[in-house]
C-alpha cells in the first residue's frame, strides 16, 4: 500500500517564482525557454492590456461600456497563461478573463460588444477556440472538462484551460470538475487567479485550506501554486501543465497568487474592504514593473517602448470601441430567432408583436 503523503496537505506550499521583484532570475531551473522576440511580445501584451484596462474603466464611467471587471494587476496571469498555449488550445473563461480571449483571437470590438450586452460579442469567429465569458462562477469549469473530454475522444493533442478566482474555488462545480478530470484523466488546466478577494470577501474567509493548490490532492490531479505577479512563473507552470495534458498525463490545478489593483467591478468601492498599506505592498509586486526590470537589464525594453505601446493601445481601443458602437443593434425578432435552430411556431407568432 502506498503511503499517504501527509506533507502535501499539512504544510503550506511555496509559490513558484522565477523573477524576484527586482527582476532578477531567482529560479533558473524554472526559466521558460523564450526567444527575445517572445519576451518582448509578452511585455507588449501586458502593457497593452494595462492601457486597455485604464481606457475601459474610463469608457465604463462614460457609459460606453456595460458590465466590466477590471484586470489591472492580473496581466501576468492573463497574458502569461494564454501565451503558454497553442492557438488550437481552448479557453473557457470567467467574467474577468477577457484579455485571454482577445490574445487568443477574439476581436477587441467583440469584447466591447459583450460588455455592452450585444449578442455579437459572444459570436466567436471560426477558428478561435474560446467560449464567451461565463457569469455563473463555476459553470465554465465543467464546460472545460467536457471540451477536454472531446479532445480526448477525438484523439487530438489540444488542451483546455479554464479560469476562475479564489471565490470560484469554493463552488461545487469546481470540485465536480476537478474530480471528473481526475477520473477521466482529461487534458485540462484549472487556472485559479487567487486575487485575494471574492468581490469583498477576503481569502481567509473563503477557505480553511492552506492553499487552493492543495485541493488538487483530493481529485487525484497535480496541484501547483505560483507567484501570479511573475509572468515567467505563470508561463512555465502553464507550459508544464499543457505538456502533461498533451502527453495524456491528465489535469493540473494551478493557483496563481495575484491581486486586482482595482475593485471587483465598476460598481463597488475597494476602499471599504482593503487598506492603503495592502494596496501599496501589492503595487510593489506589479507584474509589469517587475518584468520590465528584467527586460531592461537584458537590453530588450526601454521606457520609450512602454510609452509607444501605450499610444498604440489607446489608438486601437478607440478604433475598436467606435466599431462596437457602430455595430447594428440587436432586435427582438433576431433574439427570438436565436433561441432554436428552427424557430418554433409559437415563437414565430410572438415575433409578430415586435414588428
Amino acid at each position: 500500500m502506498s503511503k499517504v503523503p501527509y506533507e502535501v496537505y499539512t504544510e503550506e506550499v511555496e509559490a513558484l517564482s522565477v523573477l524576484s521583484p527586482d527582476g532578477e532570475i531567482i529560479n533558473k531551473d524554472k526559466l521558460p525557454k523564450l526567444t527575445d522576440d517572445q519576451l518582448k511580445e509578452i511585455m507588449y501584451r501586458m502593457v497593452f492590456t494595462r492601457t486597455w484596462d485604464d481606457r475601459a474603466v474610463n469608457l465604463g464611467r462614460q457609459g460606453r461600456l456595460g458590465f466590466y471587471a477590471p484586470v489591472s494587476g492580473q496581466e501576468a496571469t492573463m497574458v502569461g497563461s494564454e501565451f503558454a498555449l497553442q492557438k488550437e488550445d481552448f479557453i473557457a473563461p470567467g467574467y474577468r478573463d477577457i484579455p485571454q480571449l482577445v490574445w487568443h483571437g477574439l476581436p477587441l470590438y467583440q469584447a466591447f460588444l459583450y460588455s455592452r450586452g450585444h449578442q455579437h460579442g459572444g459570436q466567436i469567429p471560426d477558428g478561435v477556440n474560446v467560449l464567451m465569458p461565463q457569469i455563473i462562477i463555476g459553470a465554465q469549469i465543467l464546460h472545460a472538462m467536457g471540451i477536454a473530454m472531446g479532445y480526448k475522444l477525438k484523439k487530438q493533442k489540444q488542451v483546455v484551460i479554464t479560469y476562475t478566482g479564489d471565490g470560484g474555488s469554493s463552488e461545487g462545480d469546481f470540485y465536480e470538475g476537478l474530480n471528473y478530470a481526475g477520473v477521466y484523466k482529461l487534458p485540462v488546466i484549472f487556472f485559479v487567479q487567487n486575487n485575494g478577494y471574492a468581490i469583498t470577501t477576503p481569502f481567509a474567509k473563503q477557505t480553511a485550506a492552506l492553499s487552493i493548490a492543495h485541493k488538487a490532492v483530493a481529485a487525484g490531479i497535480k496541484g501547483v501554486k505560483i507567484d501570479g505577479m511573475d509572468v515567467l512563473a505563470v508561463i512555465k507552470a502553464v507550459q508544464e501543465a499543457a505538456e502533461r495534458g498533451r502527453n495524456g498525463e491528465g489535469a493540473t490545478l494551478i493557483e496563481a497568487v495575484t491581486y486586482r489593483f482595482r475593485p471587483h467591478s465598476l460598481s463597488d468601492d475597494a476602499t471599504k474592504y482593503r487598506t492603503k498599506e495592502e494596496e501599496g505592498e501589492w503595487n510593489e509586486k506589479d507584474p509589469i514593473a517587475r518584468f520590465a526590470k528584467y527586460l531592461e537589464k537584458k537590453g530588450l525594453w526601454t521606457e520609450e517602448d512602454t510609452a509607444r505601446v501605450k499610444e498604440e493601445a489607446k489608438a486601437k481601443v478607440n478604433e475598436e470601441i467606435k466599431k462596437a458602437e457602430k455595430t447594428e443593434k440587436m432586435t427582438i425578432p433576431g433574439l427570438i430567432d436565436s433561441m432554436f435552430e428552427k424557430t418554433p411556431k409559437h415563437l414565430e407568432e410572438q415575433k409578430a408583436d415586435f414588428k
Binding site: 473557457a92 449578442q119 455579437h120 459572444g122 459570436q123 466567436i124 467560449l131 464567451m132 455563473i136 459553470a139 469549469i141 465543467l142 464546460h143 472545460a144 472538462m145 467536457g146 471540451i147 477536454a148 473530454m149 472531446g150 479532445y151 475522444l153 477525438k154 461545487g172 462545480d173 465536480e176 470538475g177 474530480n179 471528473y180 477520473v183 433574439l335 436565436s338 433561441m339 432554436f340 435552430e341 418554433p344 411556431k345 409559437h346 415563437l347
Partner: protein
C-alpha cells in the same frame, strides 16, 4: 415488427442512434456497465464500448456540464440524470447553460443534448425520485420537453430528440417502463417534436394530457362511455414544450369542452399553460371553463398516500361531468 415495452423502445432508439452517428455518446451515473438502475441502457456499453457509453462520478451538475462541453465539441450527448429529484443539482447546466448556448453565442455554439430522466408517481419509490418537475423546464426558454406515453412514441421521440440540434429534456415515466408492450418498428423512424397525438376520438369533451395520465384518462373515458355514452376525445401532448395548440384548438372546435390532466401540482404548470393558450385561441368555442385535474399544491407525498394524491379516473370523471353540466 417487434413487441417492446417502453424501456426497450427507448433502449432501441439509443442503439439506433449510437449505431448511426459516431458522435452520439451516452453517459450518467451507472448507465454504462450495468445499464442504468432501470436497465434502460443495458447492453449498450458492451455493444458500443466504454468511450461511447460510460459511467460518470456521482455529480449531476458535472453530468450537465460535461454534456455542454461535449456539445461544443460537436458530439451529441445523451446524458442521464438518474432520478428526477436530482435535476436541481444540474439545473444550472440544463436551464441556464445548455438552453442559452445558441443565444449567448449568437449561433456559434449549440447544445445538441438530450437530458434523460425517469420520473412519475405511483411506484412507491423513495422521496424525490418521482416528482413531476416538468413545469420547471417548460418555463425555460431554449429547451424542449418531451414526455412519451407509449413504446412507439418513446422510440420515435427519442430519435427525434437526439437528432435535434437544440437541448431536449426527455422524461420517462417510471410506471410506463414495463406497463405494457406494443408494436415498435425495428427500423429508425421519428415522431416529430412539438406534435400532439389524438389517441382517442370523441365528440363530447376533450381531455388534454401527457405521459402516464394518458392511460388514466383512457380508463376514465372508457367508464364514461360505458356508463353514460359520453364520447371523450383524448389528446396526448407528447411534447409539453412547445405545446401543439393547433391540435388542441381543432379538438375544442369539435367538442367545445375540455379538461387538462397532469400529475404535477396544480398551479402554474403545463395545464395552466394549455388553458392560457386555449383562452387566447379558442375561447369562443368553449361552452364551459376548462378545468384542471392535478395533484394538490403540496410537496409530493410519501409513498403511503401517493395513490390518492395522484389524479385518478374518478377525479377525471368528476371533472368531465362538471364541464358537461356547466
Amino acid at each position: 415488427m417487434a413487441q417492446m415495452n417502453m424501456k426497450e423502445a427507448i433502449r432501441d432508439a439509443l442503439r439506433v442512434e449510437l449505431k448511426r452517428d459516431p458522435n452520439v455518446l451516452l453517459f450518467g451515473e451507472d448507465v454504462g456497465h450495468v445499464g442504468g438502475v432501470f436497465r434502460a441502457t443495458e447492453g449498450l456499453q458492451k455493444e458500443f464500448g466504454e468511450e461511447r457509453v460510460f459511467d460518470t462520478p456521482l455529480a449531476e451538475s458535472a453530468i450537465g456540464g460535461l454534456a455542454v462541453g461535449l456539445g461544443i465539441q460537436g458530439f451529441r450527448p445523451v446524458a442521464e440524470i438518474q432520478f428526477v429529484g436530482f435535476i436541481f443539482e444540474a439545473l444550472d447546466q440544463m436551464a441556464i447553460q445548455a438552453s442559452r448556448m445558441r443565444y449567448r453565442s449568437g449561433g456559434r455554439y449549440n447544445s445538441p443534448i438530450v437530458f434523460r430522466t425517469p420520473f412519475g408517481g405511483g411506484v412507491k419509490a423513495a422521496e424525490l425520485h418521482t416528482d413531476s418537475l416538468e413545469g420547471l423546464l417548460t418555463q425555460t426558454p431554449g429547451i424542449k420537453v418531451v414526455v412519451p406515453s407509449n413504446p412507439y412514441d418513446a422510440k420515435g421521440l427519442m430519435i427525434a430528440s437526439i437528432r435535434d440540434n437544440d437541448p431536449v429534456f426527455f422524461m420517462e415515466h417510471l410506471n410506463l417502463y414495463h406497463a405494457f408492450r406494443a408494436e415498435v418498428p425495428e427500423n429508425d423512424y421519428v415522431v416529430e417534436l412539438g406534435k400532439a397525438n389524438v389517441v382517442r376520438e370523441g365528440s363530447d369533451v376533450t381531455i388534454i394530457t401527457y405521459g402516464m395520465m394518458v392511460h388514466t384518462s383512457i380508463k376514465a373515458a372508457d367508464e364514461l362511455e360505458k356508463t353514460k355514452g359520453i364520447k371523450v376525445e383524448i389528446i396526448d401532448l407528447r411534447t409539453i414544450s412547445p405545446i401543439d395548440i393547433d391540435t388542441i384548438v381543432a379538438s375544442i372546435q369539435k367538442t367545445n369542452r375540455a379538461i387538462v390532466v397532469q400529475e404535477a401540482q396544480k398551479s402554474a404548470g403545463v395545464a395552466a399553460e394549455v388553458i392560457a393558450q386555449i383562452n387566447e385561441k379558442a375561447i369562443l368555442h368553449l361552452e364551459a371553463p376548462v378545468l384542471r385535474v392535478a395533484g394538490p399544491d403540496t410537496v409530493y407525498p410519501f409513498a403511503q398516500i401517493e395513490d390518492t394524491w395522484l389524479p385518478t379516473p374518478t377525479r377525471i370523471i368528476d371533472a368531465v361531468n362538471k364541464v358537461l353540466e356547466f
